[in-house]
Symmetry: C2
Subunit: 234 residues, 2 copies
């Protein structure tokens, strides 16, 4: 038999019906298959660098952007070339246009309602995060299970009981669900989000989640980052 993942009985696994073919590493089926995934992962970094340039700087060369972003000039040019050909030979890229093109490519012009589940220290940090505004993301819901937290406000948004989420999702569309619960609750929350129609999930809980193949899932994990860092130490 050839290597093909399929269902098997494991206690902690939540089963989403068929669960057919193998999803890729981060579970992101590239529906919009324009840009190479490596490029997509670097665009936000370019954006960060561009935003910090002094207002007086009107153009930037691939070389300078490479230096600022800790990448290579050839790589920068290739990445940008996927967005179109708007560089000026002998000069570089116009900062405003580059900014616009990257934001357009990433779809940051859209309005993406975000819900955060789990309002502990981490969830509070996320709720207070100010970098959303001009980046297309907007927190529309905060959820927790603890009665002491329900009814409190963070960044102008009320913390609601997690049991309200399905109903809320029916009236307010939720583009992204951020999971900031303890590990033990994460899978349950993920399942609830998926069932509520949320198609993209960002998981901060230290556990591997299982979601259907058509759900976009990204994982941010402190232990994983430290372990990777640890490998390269001394």
């Amino acid at each position: 038999m050839t290597d093909t993942p399929q269902a098997a009985a494991v206690p902690w696994t939540h089963d989403f019906g068929a669960d057919p073919a193998l999803p890729d590493a981060v579970n992101l089926s590239p529906m919009k298959s324009d840009l190479p995934s490596a490029t997509v992962e670097r665009l936000p970094r370019y954006l960060r660098c561009i935003e910090r340039l002094p207002e007086s700087q009107l153009t930037i060369s691939s070389r300078e952007l490479a230096r600022l972003s800790n990448l290579t000039a050839a790589g920068v040019r290739r990445d940008i070339s996927y967005l179109g050909t708007f560089g000026i030979r002998g000069v570089g890229y116009q900062v405003t246009e580059l900014n616009d093109q990257i934001r357009h490519a990433l779809g940051l012009t859209a309005d993406r309602p975000v819900a955060v589940v789990g309002i502990g220290n981490l969830g509070s940090a996320l709720a207070n995060y100010t970098g959303f505004g001009n980046r297309g993301f907007r927190i529309v819901g905060l959820y927790d299970a603890a009665p002491t937290k329900i009814g409190t406000y963070l960044g102008g948004v009320e913390v609601r009981d997690i049991s309200r989420l399905p109903d809320d999702a029916r009236t307010t569309h939720i583009s992204v669900g951020i999971i900031a619960t303890p590990a033990g609750a994460a899978q349950q929350v993920a399942t609830m989000l998926v069932e509520a129609g949320v198609r993209s999930i960002l998981n901060f809980a230290p556990t591997v989640l299982r979601v259907p193949d058509d759900i976009h899932l990204r994982q941010v994990d402190l232990a994983t980052e430290l372990q990777i860092l640890g490998y390269y130490m001394t």
Copy 2:
């Protein structure tokens, strides 16, 4: 002239002397160049999956581990093969041995003192993170600049004034510095950590840091994750 990054005058750039050749994407010069970097990044995930297996499960096949980790069986086998050949044909891998081998490969047996700088919501979440213990990482220092926070305790560790960090680092070795400050303070903190002899930095502040080439730097950024997720949405 060929593409080679070099110094240039940009206001927000902190200059670390020579700053010679181009560092790679994540600034991890693979001193220990045994494992492919892609494999290193997946090992923690396998670990997560293995840890959740029921005690009664003594072996696991590449197929099952692939399903649990959302990867492919062939990929799992290749990754594990870099650690040695200890699988049992027709059976799979012994769970305890696999666990040991991965932990050994990642160097999780070492004791790695960690300092967290910036004890806001995020820093507090990190300070309370329980997943350190059995993974070789141990918080030995918490630092902040706000007088109201200094002297308080989190997880049994006192929050100290950031100005103490250089002295503390002289007496207590710090393997990893975690930056959880606002973006505006991050570069300054990074510089301070580097000057205090910290060689590995995990940055949660939403800003691109510049550090010398020989410093291991990883970046965790909410906005970046959301932007990547956003790209793949509809």
